[in-house]
Every structure is written in structure tokens, then in C-alpha cells.
């Protein structure tokens, strides 16, 4: 009689093992962050801390949504940097963070700025997850992408963008 009990235990464990290993945990994609002074943010974070840290923008343009007046997107332009936000329930969130030129020497936390070479990017971030049709290197985050635009081998633009 004891045999049956033991047999069942073994059967159970091999079942459990099969259930267990079926569940290989996929590697969790990490978001890419941008930091300025003490603020470290990425897309979908609240925009206020970064905007306060950056001070008054040189230009502020509103993209009125086709219909709903209050849910506008706003572009804040700074020297060499552009921040785009969207509004939800009255709170502004980060939509895009873009390093547009090398006039103000903006760098990503990993030390890459506009004007650096393709090799430096690969060294800092590894191979891109994909390269788009016009040669832009795309690194995937959880719900965003980090994009490096190239002319030839030099970076012309770095963009943290929310997945639409």
C-alpha cells in the first residue's frame, strides 16, 4: 500500500516540475532614463520636476487636440533640448524627451550626446533592438523607445519616445 502513496508523490513532483519549467520568466525590459540635476525621469513620468529643473523654455508650442480642449500636448523648447508632454486628468506627463543638437552639450546618463560616433553608442548601449528604415537605431524599453538618429556615423538626434 505504501507503494501507491510514494508513486503518487513522484507523479506529482514530475507534474509540478513540468508546470514550473513551462513558466520561464521572460527577461524584463528596462526603461531608459534621462537625468538633469537631481531629476531622473523617463516617458510617462510626471513632467513637472524636469520642467522646473530646466527653467523657462525659449519657446512653448501647444498642439491642440483635434477636439478636447484641455487634453493638449505641449512642446517646451530649450537650448539643444525639446520636451513634449501630454495631459491626463489635469496632470502633465512626459511624452518625448529629445536631445536635438550639440549646442548645449546634453548627455544621456550613459554619457552619449549629439555628435558622438555610432561606435560609442553601441559601446554604451549594446546592439540596438532594431534599425528603422531610415537608419535610426532603436532600443526598446517597457512602453517607450530610445532612438539614435544618424547622419553617416555621427548621432544627430537622441529621442526618448513613448510608444504610441
Amino acid at each position: 500500500m505504501k507503494r501507491i502513496g510514494i508513486f503518487c508523490l513522484i507523479l506529482l513532483f514530475c507534474l509540478a516540475f513540468s508546470v514550473g519549467c513551462k513558466k520561464e520568466t521572460t527577461v524584463e525590459k528596462q526603461d531608459y532614463f534621462f537625468s538633469h540635476q537631481s531629476v531622473r525621469v523617463t516617458t510617462d513620468d510626471a513632467a513637472k520636476p524636469l520642467l522646473d529643473a530646466l527653467g523657462t523654455p525659449t519657446e512653448r508650442i501647444v498642439r491642440p487636440s483635434c477636439l478636447f480642449g484641455n487634453a493638449n500636448d505641449v512642446l517646451y523648447v530649450y537650448q539643444g533640448l525639446e520636451i513634449e508632454t501630454y495631459t491626463k486628468d489635469g496632470i502633465e506627463y512626459l511624452y518625448n524627451i529629445e536631445l536635438v543638437d550639440d549646442t548645449a552639450d546634453w548627455k544621456t546618463p550613459e554619457g552619449i550626446g549629439v555628435g558622438d560616433a555610432r561606435g560609442a553608442v553601441v559601446k554604451a548601449y549594446g546592439e540596438p533592438d532594431s534599425v528603422s528604415q531610415n537608419g535610426t537605431a532603436v532600443y526598446n524599453g517597457k512602453d517607450m523607445t530610445l532612438n539614435f538618429f544618424y547622419t553617416g556615423d555621427t548621432v544627430t538626434r537622441i529621442a526618448y519616445r513613448k510608444n504610441v
Binding site: M1, I4, G5, L11, L12, A16, V19, G20, K23, T25
Partner: protein, 521 residues
């Protein structure tokens, strides 16, 4: 396929229609197919698990039945040649053999439930990262308990094992009960499932009324209150003090509407098929003591744990030895309490664990147990109090006070379900007395929880209707059956329910409260 989805309504209607179209003998086939269609849509990756449990239940039950048959045949043949002692020896040999078969079956049945439900929890105790979260098949806690109960009944010889595999499968997977019970006994449910019921418009009307009432409680009352509960839970760090009491009250409304509503839908559909599973509630909030509450709330679960865990444990051999030892050494009073209290604590530990893989559920179970034991100990005090003030104790205000006290106590412990973090819950319970922000709540705080005045009005109306129905339901034959006798009134009531649910229900875009709380078990 959630109960509150239109797809389920169509599915249920089609099942009832087909059921009565099929010849009587074949009607249980319709149910079986319906069960597996429902389960396929609910989650096709769960199918292997329910099939596994059904296979284990069927084969081990047949195995034990074979042993019992062989035993009775053997005793029959040697009726006269065996003495009482020998007969007893033969019986105990078979009994232990059956016991081992039962234990093996239970290992497989409960083992699968334990692995799927608790591995993540157990692993999380030892390390905080890489915790596997295994898929939890729909209703696994319910159908496992139902089938294991059946196995125990067969091993006790209380029930003859079902020879037909498909009929066993039907018993394990009867679709209305899959999502959140009730946990039926084989002896009560199986005959009703197998025998084809004649079409009876009374059953149809009574079932429709019950299901409609269930949807009303779920979608108009529970889901509306759930919005506020979700806000209170999400912002529990800032919404303390009076808000915790608000949460306790609202969550009691939510759990009542959600659970009794879901059961009414399930039993309503079963009733339309002429099947009457066991009742799961009996006006729970009118109970005046925690003991009475647990005889009125989730009755089938309570009786399952009592019949298959508490009693066997308290009369098991080791427990009897302990009882003898403790009574000898610690005196009669303490001695007789030890075994029973140990059995109670263990039973409630299992009840808590069954509700969910988390410390908050276990603590919830143990707190319930504590309340029961304390009220057991205070019994002499209460009887003294009653002899002193017989008039007072018989008066309704006193009964009202007892009912309110029980309601609040159970609500308090139940809030563990919402906060899901034991230390935090205790801290929040503390803030009820330390932070006094009732002024802020009544001057507008209560309107910032996602519900406007109109929603609270709907909630109040809903609770009033539930209260009236339960008062009217006190009479012998349930209110539903009395109403179902008058077809025109039934059609009118059904129409009214449909309108009220469509307009005042909380469903659709923005409200994802459609899932039943117990569905995640």
C-alpha cells in the same frame, strides 16, 4: 467569459434551451458539453488541470469502491465461518488499504492545487526575486475541494463511486459552480445532474428571478461601491482614520453584493435547469454572533471544513491520545479544551490559506478563529449576564447591538482582503482611533472617492432593496418562489430588474469591476 458578460448570458440561455430540447436521458450530456465549452472560453490553457483532477477523482474513487465491494463480498461469503474479531480484522485491513488510496488521491488532488496556488507564496518567503507566478486555473479551489470531498465520502463508504467517467466529469465541472461555488456534496448534486428534469415554467421563472436579483446585487450595488473601495485601497496611506471605517462598511457591501450576487446567478441558472445545489448564504448580516455568522456565510465551505477537516482531526487517534494526556495532566477543564482548540486553530489556518496565498489571508483565518475561541470562553460570562438581565437580552435593541457588533467585527477582519498587507492593516486599524477626520470626510471627503451623490443614492437604494428582500425572505418559502407563482408579476419584475441594471449598473468602459472577487481563487 465573466458572468457579467453578454457572451455568458447568451451561453447560459442556449444551454437551458438545448437542455430541454434534448431527450431526457441525454440531458446531462448537454450539461457536460456546456461545462467544457464554458471552461474552454474561460481559459483553454486551464483545461489540462481540470481534466487531471477529474481523472484522479474518477480513478481513485473507482479503486476504493472496488476495495469496498471486495470487502463486502468476502464478508458475505464467510458470513458464518468468521468470528467477530476476525471480521473486525478484515474490515480494518480494507479500511487502512482504502485510507492509503484516499491519501494518494488527496496528494494528487490537493497537491496540484497547492503547487499552482502556493508555490509563488512559499518561494516569496525565502527570496524576494525570481518568484514564479504560476497560472491559477479558474475555480481550481472550488472544484478541487468538491471532488476531494467526494473521494473522502467514497472512502468512508457514505457514497457509492460513480462508474461512468463522464458523469464524474460533470460533477467536477458543473459550470455555474465553477467560478465561486457553492461546494456541493456528491450525494446532493450528482443525482440531480444525471437525471433529466422535465421542463417546468415555474423553475424557469424562479431561476430567472434569482439570477436577475444576483446581477442586480453584483452590478448595481457591489460594482458601484467597489469604485470607492478601490480608491480607498489605492490611496490607503493618506486615507486613514475615518476612511478606514468607510472602507470596512463599503467593502462589506461589495463582498455581500459580489459573492451572494454571484451565487444567486449560479444557483439561478441551476434552478432553471431544475437543479437545486446547496444554499451558500442565509441572511448572514443578521447573525448575532461570530459562530452564527459562520453558519450563515459561505455555508458550504464552512461545512466542508467542519466535516472533512475539523471532526476527523479532533477524533483522530493522535488527538485522542493528546486529549487523554492533557486531561490527565492539566486537569479536566483545560484538558478537554486543548485537542478541540488545536483542531479549530488548524482548521481556520487552512480556511485562511484556502482563501488566498498570502499572509493576510492566513491572519484573517486565525483572527476568525480567535474570535470564535474567545466567544466560546466568554460563554459562562454571557450566560451570567443573561440571567441577570433577561428582559434586556431578549429585547430587539440588544439583538440589534449584537448584529451590528458582529457585522463590524467581521468587516474589520475582512479589510485584510483589501489592504493585503498585515502590518499596514493593523496600523490602519489603529488610525481609526488615533486620527479623527470625520469632519473632513463628511464635508466632502466622501465625494472624492470616485462616487458622486447620484452614485451614493443608487447605492443606498440598492442596499434598501436588499434589506427589504431579506426581510420579506424570512418567511418559510423563499420570496422568490412565492413571486414565481404569479407569471405576470415575474415578467414585470424581470423587466424592472433589466432596466435598473442597464441604467444604474456599473459596467462597461472605465469600470473594470466586472470580475468577481472570488473568481481569482
Amino acid at each position: 467569459m465573466r458572468f457579467t458578460s453578454l457572451a455568458f448570458l447568451a451561453f447560459a440561455a442556449l444551454t437551458v434551451l438545448l437542455y430541454y430540447l434534448f431527450p431526457k436521458a441525454k440531458r446531462w450530456w448537454v450539461l457536460l458539453v456546456a461545462d467544457y465549452v464554458f471552461y474552454f472560453f474561460a481559459g483553454k490553457e486551464f483545461l489540462p488541470f481540470i481534466l487531471f483532477t477529474t481523472l484522479v477523482t474518477y480513478s481513485f474513487a473507482r479503486w476504493m469502491q472496488a476495495l469496498t465491494d471486495r470487502e463486502s463480498r468476502y464478508l458475505e461469503e464467510h458470513r458464518d465461518s468468521l468470528s467477530k474479531e476476525e471480521r473486525k480484522a478484515v474490515r480494518s485491513k480494507y479500511k487502512t488499504h482504502r485510507r492509503w488510496v484516499l491519501v494518494s488521491g488527496a496528494i494528487l488532488g490537493f497537491g496540484m492545487l497547492a503547487i499552482l496556488k502556493y508555490t509563488g507564496f512559499i518561494v516569496s518567503i525565502f527570496r524576494s526575486s525570481g518568484i514564479p507566478n504560476l497560472i491559477l486555473p479558474l475555480g481550481i479551489s472550488f472544484y478541487t475541494f468538491q471532488s476531494m470531498g467526494y473521494l473522502i465520502d467514497v472512502s468512508r463508504g457514505k457514497v457509492a463511486a460513480e462508474r461512468n467517467f463522464f458523469k464524474t466529469a460533470l460533477f467536477v465541472s458543473f459550470f455555474p459552480q465553477l467560478v465561486q461555488g457553492p461546494i456541493s456534496r456528491f450525494a446532493d448534486l450528482e443525482p440531480q445532474l444525471i437525471e433529466g428534469h422535465p421542463f417546468d415554467s415555474f423553475n424557469l421563472r424562479a431561476g430567472l428571478l434569482r439570477a436577475a436579483y444576483g446581477y442586480f446585487k453584483k452590478m448595481v450595488v457591489a460594482d458601484t461601491a467597489m469604485i470607492a473601495v478601490q480608491t480607498l485601497a489605492a490611496r490607503s496611506d493618506e486615507l486613514t482614520g475615518g476612511y478606514v471605517v468607510l472602507l470596512i462598511l463599503l467593502y462589506s457591501v461589495v463582498i455581500y453584493g459580489d459573492f451572494t450576487g454571484g451565487i444567486d446567478i449560479a444557483l439561478g441558472i441551476a434552478e432553471m435547469l431544475g437543479i437545486h445545489p446547496a444554499e451558500n448564504f442565509n441572511r448572514p448580516f443578521s447573525s448575532r454572533s461570530v459562530k452564527e455568522y459562520w453558519n450563515r456565510w459561505h455555508i458550504t465551505m464552512g461545512s466542508w471544513f467542519t466535516d472533512y477537516v475539523f471532526y476527523p482531526l479532533s477524533v483522530s487517534i493522535p488527538m485522542q491520545k493528546l486529549s487523554k494526556w492533557s486531561r490527565a495532566h492539566l486537569g479536566q477543564a483545560l484538558g478537554k479544551r486543548i485537542p478541540v482548540y488545536l483542531a479549530t486553530i488548524f482548521t481556520w489556518f487552512l480556511t485562511g490559506l484556502w482563501h488566498g496565498a498570502g499572509w493576510n489571508f492566513i491572519v484573517w483565518g486565525l483572527l476568525n478563529c480567535l474570535l470564535l475561541l474567545v466567544s466560546q470562553e466568554l460563554k459562562p460570562l454571557w450566560s451570567l449576564w443573561q440571567t441577570k438581565f433577561p428582559k434586556l437580552c431578549a429585547s430587539t435593541p440588544w439583538h440589534l447591538w449584537q448584529a451590528t457588533r458582529t457585522f463590524l467585527l467581521m468587516g474589520l477582519i475582512r479589510s485584510l482582503d483589501v489592504y493585503r498587507n498585515v502590518p499596514k492593516t493593523f496600523r490602519l486599524w489603529g488610525t481609526i482611533f488615533s486620527t479623527f477626520n470625520w469632519g473632513e470626510i463628511f464635508s466632502g471627503g466622501w465625494l472624492r472617492l470616485g462616487l458622486g451623490i447620484a452614485d451614493y443614492a443608487v447605492l443606498a437604494g440598492g442596499i434598501l432593496i436588499i434589506f427589504l428582500v431579506s426581510q420579506l425572505g424570512k418567511a418559510e418559502t423563499p420570496l422568490r418562489e412565492r413571486t414565481a407563482k404569479k407569471p405576470v408579476l415575474t415578467v414585470f419584475l424581470l423587466g424592472a430588474f433589466v432596466c435598473v441594471i442597464l441604467i444604474f449598473g456599473t459596467y462597461g468602459i472605465g469600470y473594470n469591476a466586472g470580475d468577481f472577487i472570488y473568481r481569482t481563487f
